[in-house]
Amino acid sequence: MSEHEYVPKSKAGKWFNDRLPLLTLGAHLTDYPTPKNLNYWWTFGGILTFCLITQIVTGIVLAMHYVAHADLAFASVEHIMRDVNYGWLIRYIHSNGASMFFLAVYIHIFRSLFYGSYKSPREVIWIIGLMIYLLMMAAAFMGYVLPWGQMSFWGATVITNLFSAIPLVGDSITTWLWGAYSVDNPTLNRFFSLHYLIPFLILGLVVLHIWALHVPGNNNPVGIDIKKPSKDTVPFHPYITIKDAFALLVFMIIFAGFVFFTPNVLGHSDNYIPANPLVTPAHIVPEWYLLPFYAILRSVPDKLGGVILMFSAIFILFVLPWLDTSKVRSAVFRPIYRQFFWILVIDVLMLGYVGAMPAEGIYLVLARVGTIYYFLHFIVVMPVVGYLEKTDPIPMSISEPVLTGGAEPSIARKVNDKV
């Protein structure tokens, strides 16, 4: 890293930088040496930052018009949709923005899984990332409660009742969460408070996430350690900024497509019915991004068991760096693991699908098979494959196989296939 060499050109800049080295930080971020072979799967960090800022900005604006009271919340959301200038646009950006945020974060996580970005020395980046993911789920859940429609109310009821499965203190905890004897006005009020807080906690963790990233530097599609800076790296600006910007534009086109053409396709029509504590909708489903975990919850015919398994499905990811025994990071050079990776992707997609279906018949069978594979993948496949697998030879550097013109052409081709 070159920040200690940086000296501002202007006298005023130097005066300020000696007192608060913000300009040094800026120079570090600009010059930050980045592997030159990063592909488009690496653009989702920037896209996620965009998503977070979008949610914060639209959220602050919505809070100027929204009323967090059980009697008024539903009407105030309709007021935003009908009366507030551009309220419909801001709300649709915010509600679809949550989905886009999760779409991007899932791609980001699977990128990490494929290229081994969670492995040493990047375990802390991975763990902070998972903490962000957990907070995102909490924020999304509480945000979905705020319109106080039928899905809001019953989603809140089902999710808070998960805690009632805890032996002995479960009921006290749910009452404490509700601030009442059921989901009611106090619940809505505190969910609004927390929904406003969490994005800023996420923002703080994002700073730590990037800080932790800048210590070892980016992983890359080849997954090898590289010297920084060297002929294997390029400065972050303009090389990565321009690539990130292009990917962001494509992402925004898809985002805008949802907002302007199908703004409600990812929501549930029952949420346009005001909350009614006497009637449960016939078919309760969470938002799409929580469906795989919902499928795991329902696959267990026991209340406590289902809840434990669902939370384990998330928390097992925290120990992933220590479950994976392979010395090779990138799945490009791991012919066996690579196949299991794709099985996991299909498995999670399938769990998401059956999570949206009724928990009976073939769907229940699929949910159980999917749940078993999900855990087997992390507990058995990752340690065992990492230990037994014969990996392909990895190149000495990012440049070498390309520049030496065929010293190891088979390797060069293989790398390029994936890059």
Binding site: N161, L162, A180, Y181, R190, P277, T280, D302, K303
Partner: protein
Amino acid sequence: MSKEEKKVNRRDFLFTASYTVGAVGIGAVIWPMIDQMNPDKAQQALATTEVDISNIEPGKSITVLWRGKPVFLKRRTSEEIAEARSVNLDDLPDPQKDEDRVKEGKDEWLVMLGVCTHLGCVPLKDKGDFNGWFCPCHGSHYDVSGRIRKGPAPTNMEIPKFEFVDSNTIKIG
């Protein structure tokens, strides 16, 4: 460690005393922060509901709201009572006699929280495999006495505290 170092001196005492006072102080501040989230006085004040039951025909039921939760009041027919009492207790995941779920002498009145003991949805009446209630959320079947028979719910639907104020009025809570 040598013997001298193990000896408790004035500084150790001060450290321990400071930590203790600090911990008590932090606890005294944290507890109000946690307890403020528990149901407040206004919520607790809603603790009882009185219901007029004079208009309920045998075989019919009504649903009332108590503490934000639905309560089912069902006036059962003698066939339904007989059916509830003919069940072998060994067939029940949460064994409980029908007699223990109603007030003695008022066997026709089943008063229970209309809340599925799985994850809190409201079960639908006259549905499911056991002639009682069925929860649409995750498929729990309850019998005519509100006892869990099949599905993920762990226990029978809860019987709240209630009493007959007079022959036409029930007080819940």
